[in-house]
């Protein structure tokens, strides 16, 4: 097992504990919930193989599902997001970057990173809340939930990025 895998497992555990013990319990105005564990998938290196990305996404999703009694919902959405991630990321890749960079404000500029994160997170929440609607629900609260949760999660993406950028 390589060093980077161990670091990934450590980050994975920390971010998921924070997610299920703190963030999954906060529902701002009853609509917005932050899914900070997505940051873990966003920040995996560019050349992580697609299969590894899918497994990371699925595992993270199923763990959150176990704690929130939503079997399959987070897992389906996170797997889809992990699948689409490299396609979104390819849009912002330019020459002059090292081969295996970590997506972030340093490597692909603030603008690129924010649009990339927004696309991923919007995709995630759209699938998540559509699956919830599929079991039962209403359209308007669904749209508010998608927008609210996406914005709230973006806020945490920006905050984490500010911290790692200043280092």
């Amino acid at each position: 097992m390589t060093r980077s895998t161990l670091i990934n497992i450590r980050n994975f555990t920390l971010v998921l504990l924070a997610q299920v013990l703190v963030f999954s319990r906060i529902h701002l105005f009853g609509y917005a919930t932050a899914c900070i564990y997505l940051i873990f998938i966003l920040k995996l290196p560019r050349h992580t193989s697609l299969n590894a990305l899918l497994l990371w996404g699925f595992t993270a999703g199923i763990v959150v599902d176990m704690f929130c009694n939503t079997p399959g919902m987070n897992a389906a959405a996170a797997t889809a997001m992990a699948f689409a991630r490299n396609m979104f990321l390819a849009t912002f890749t330019h020459k002059g970057l090292p081969d295996d960079f970590i997506p972030g404000a340093k490597s692909i500029k603030w603008g690129g990173y924010l649009v990339y994160s927004l696309m991923c997170i919007l995709l995630f929440f759209t699938i998540l809340f559509l699956l919830e609607l599929f079991t039962a629900g209403h359209i308007l609260p669904l749209l508010i939930s998608i927008a609210g949760s996406t914005l709230l999660t973006m806020l945490f993406v920006i905050v984490t990025e500010c911290f790692s950028f200043s280092k």
């Binding site: 299920v20 009853g30 996404g57 009694n69 079997p71 889809a80």
Partner: protein, 283 residues
């Protein structure tokens, strides 16, 4: 053959993607009636134990409120006891009736237990509550759950030490109810929007109801004994097909602060169910 293998290797991530999404969708679809899916919920050992640790810590922060509520509940109970005592002395003359009364017989049909909430959600269309009692404490599915304020929900799944309760605030929950003072019964169902309100969906049109009437459990379903309070009627409207009334009900239970619960089970439930099932088969 070689080309098929090449195809498989070239598109292997598509197959993995489809497989993982397939697993997710199967979990999503079969959660409700697939009992081994209990592993993927907060009733499994790991999640349940982490949650009960956190709840132990959190419990200290709520002690004051909880005490206030218990004191208040105690006061109500002792008031009730006094009233009962008075009533009982009034009936002393007809001891024959009270001695082998229907009430006493009915009470003997139910067992009661207590449990504590360790996890729960309120913000979804399908909410769940996890409690700290499971099959090893005698909790089984389809047991009724209530607290001192009123009906909370029905046990949906159990593991050895934990159980998941389907509260009234779940679009899949249906509870057989009766409006106090009338004999017609109806079903309580949540529409997924407001936290403190649910709806009686099939009130018969011939029955007369008023705002403020109390809704209690009917006792027909053998899950709850008859007469546990549920809520009070706020307003009446026509149902979508115009065949029934639809009543908005303000629920008595404050779901955002539930903690200690009572669990009730019917001792002769199996007997009743087997009888009802054999009846259905004959049709």
């Amino acid at each position: 053959m070689q080309s098929i293998l090449n195809l498989l290797i070239k598109y292997n991530h598509w197959f993995l993607f489809t497989l993982l999404e397939g697993i997710s969708i199967v979990l999503l679809l079969f959660f409700n009636n697939y009992h081994s899916a209990v592993f993927f919920t907060s009733a499994n050992g790991i999640a349940g134990n982490i949650y009960s640790m956190i709840t132990d810590v959190e419990g200290y922060f709520n002690l004051k409120d909880e005490n206030m509520r218990l004191v208040e509940h105690n006061r109500l109970l002792s008031e009730e006891l006094q009233a009962m005592g008075k009533e009982l002395s009034a009936y002393k003359d007809s001891t024959m009736l009270a001695g082998n009364g229907f009430v006493a017989a009915n009470r003997g049909n139910f067992t009661f237990g207590t449990a504590k909430v360790i996890n729960g959600s309120l913000n979804r269309v399908n909410n769940f509550i996890t409690i700290d009692k499971g099959s090893s404490d005698g909790v089984t599915t389809e047991m009724g759950v209530f607290n001192e304020q009123g009906v909370v929900g029905i046990v949906r799944q159990t593991s050895e030490n934990f159980a998941i309760v389907l509260p009234l605030l779940n679009s899949k929950s249906m509870i057989s109810c009766r409006v106090k003072g009338s004999n017609s019964f109806c079903t309580l169902k949540w529409d997924g929007t407001e936290l403190q309100h649910s709806y009686l969906i099939d009130l018969p049109r011939y029955a007369l109801f008023e705002q403020g009437d109390t809704v209690v459990t009917s006792g027909f379903s053998s899950i709850f004994p008859a007469g546990i309070p549920v809520g009070e009627i706020q307003n009446l409207e026509d149902s979508d097909d115009g065949m029934f009334y639809r009543a908005k009900v303000k629920l008595y239970v404050n779901f955002s602060s539930i903690d200690n619960l009572f669990i009730v089970g019917h001792k002769k439930k199996n007997e009743q169910e087997i009888l009802e099932e054999s009846m259905n088969k004959e049709k």
